[in-house]
Amino acid sequence: MILLNWIRENFFGTKLDVAMTITGVLFIYFVLSTVISFILNSDWTLIMVNRQLMLTGLMPQEEIWRIWTIFSLTSILMTISISFWFKINIKGSIFYILLLLIPFLIFTTKNTVLYVLLIMFISIVFFYLGHRSKNSKLKNIVSKIIMISWIILLPICFLILNILDGPKMTLWGGFMINLILAAIAIFAGFPLGILLALGRASSYKLIKLVSTVYIEVIRGAPLVAWLLLAWFVLPKFLPNLFGLSDINIVVRAMIVLSLFASAYIAEVIRGGLQSIPKGQEEASFALGINSISTTIFIVLPQAIRIVIPTVVSTFIAIFKDTSLVFILAITDLLRIGRLIPEQQQAFFGKSIESLAVVALLFWVVSLVLSQISRTIEKKLNI
């Protein structure tokens, strides 16, 4: 009865409500039926055959363990962070698990199923450990360890990709290259963006000028243009030292994406800096705290807190922008998704299936990012 009343009140309250409900239901029915019939009537062997290609590109089979090791480390770190820092609610956990199952279902093959199960088991153990240590005496130490682990995660990933005679960077590809490029762009672009934002707000004219010009120049041209410039022009400008002038195309993409990201992040953070009341700085100065410490301990933490939602949308945008590296002939997920139906005879013309999975994968990661940002917002009470 309560349910019926609730439905009546919320969906059939007024004539307008009735009209909107009917239109809405018809629309949802139309969309869902199209999607479901597409899913049911399509031949998904394309994905089953090519999933390793989509995940890792042209990386040779015997190097795949590197990818799985990286995935396990990240997964373990993520679960322990979530259970340690956030309140766990059942609804949220189920949501995350379902979301993360999608890539696992797509990418897990017979050879790797044991590996995946092992990762899941270890992750659950760490989830539990994180939960337990939340209220123990070790809290401060665990918190430090987790933070340091996040900082060194990226270098460690690089190490894992390169030690023991790793594959050439140009062989990196698939969804992995999108994730790596995004991670690099975010980890390098964020601190650089903070510096640029501070530079632009600085009272030193020269620093201000340089930061402003940098930001406006970078933002003034599309990413595609910068990528092409990096391809054709960069080698001519770099000195021919240490093989700088012929650094490989993946590293160039990393540099361009990081620089591009930093300009956008800088503008977002500048907005945050401007929203901090002048009184905060004054109170800090009045206590005798110098301007550098005031920025680090008073202004910046508050500014970043305010702009977390916008920063995360920038991160998501950058992550999706990594698909543009196809113009540098890097075989990222999108490029593979387009090549499969063009080059494999068995799947000629099956672009829709292929691209649908590409879109789904990008969507899952973006959604997880935005959910994490929402959780952080809630925790920080913004």
């Binding site: 100065f285 705290i289 008073i298 508050q302």
Partner: protein, 250 residues
């Protein structure tokens, strides 16, 4: 209860200070001496320059001309001097200006740790004793937003005291408070005044002023129009402007 003020040792010496904001001249030549242990209440209508004056004392506003000397240190272009002065001069603001992202305890310990290089445990001990002094030790772990206005302002006072200042500046400390919270803040200020702290207060709380002030400075249009003891002010003001002002707020 009045204490002795030594008329010999000057804490703050201001000579002919001027300050303009664009075309508006906020201070038109302020000369005043504040002695050690003295409680000076600065009065005046809004826009008279009283806040600007006390903000020049710790360099939050840079004065255009004139000389300010605090505890014998000249406040000039030398950033080192300015930082030393700021360490010796505490300030309490109308809007509290607590750091919202830090706990009450951390609000108080930050400056002693960063400026005086106290250890974590030393500074926390100091902070707790100050919270004890302002009467809210149980709020140490909370965040500013969880406290009432009166409690926030008391934390702000404790935060300023943590630098063990020789002079305290109060810029309308009770103006942003609900009426029922004013007393708890004034009580802390009265206790502070009786302990012998040198204080310069911009305030309209005449009850407080009557109880603890040693001297009044009356500002109007960027100048000190009249100064004197509370007795002089309440019973025998000379200037028309002062009389008018007092008749409006008393």
């Amino acid at each position: 209860m009045k204490k002795k003020v030594s008329k010999k040792k000057i804490s703050v010496e201001a000579k002919g200070i001027t300050k303009s904001f664009g075309d508006f001249q906020a201070l038109k030549g302020i000369t005043a001496n504040i002695y050690e242990g003295e409680v000076v209440v600065v009065l005046g209508p809004s826009g008279s320059g009283k806040s600007t004056f006390i903000r020049t004392i710790n360099g939050l506003e840079e004065h255009n001309s004139g000389e300010i000397t605090v505890n014998g240190i000249p406040l000039n272009d030398d950033v080192k001097n300015r930082d030393v002065i700021r360490g010796q001069v505490g300030m309490v603001f109308q809007q509290f200006n607590l750091f919202p992202h830090l706990s009450v305890l951390r609000n108080i310990t930050l400056a002693p740790q960063k400026v005086k290089k106290l250890s974590k445990s030393e500074s926390e001990e100091l902070a707790m004793s100050l919270l004890e002094r302002v009467g809210i030790p149980e709020q140490a772990e909370k965040y500013p937003a969880q406290l009432s206005g009166g409690q926030q302002q008391r934390v702000a006072i404790a935060r300023a005291l943590a630098m063990q200042p020789k002079i305290m500046l109060f810029d309308e400390p009770t103006s942003a408070l609900d009426p029922e919270m004013i007393k708890e803040v004034l009580d802390v200020m009265i206790e502070l005044a009786q302990s012998g702290m040198t204080m310069i207060c911009v305030t309209h709380e005449m009850g407080f002023a009557r109880e603890v002030a040693d001297r009044f400075l009356f500002f109007d249009e960027g100048l000190i129009v009249e100064e004197g003891t509370p007795d002089h002010f309440f019973n025998n003001p000379q200037e028309e402007r002062t009389k008018l002002f007092l008749s409006q707020i008393l």
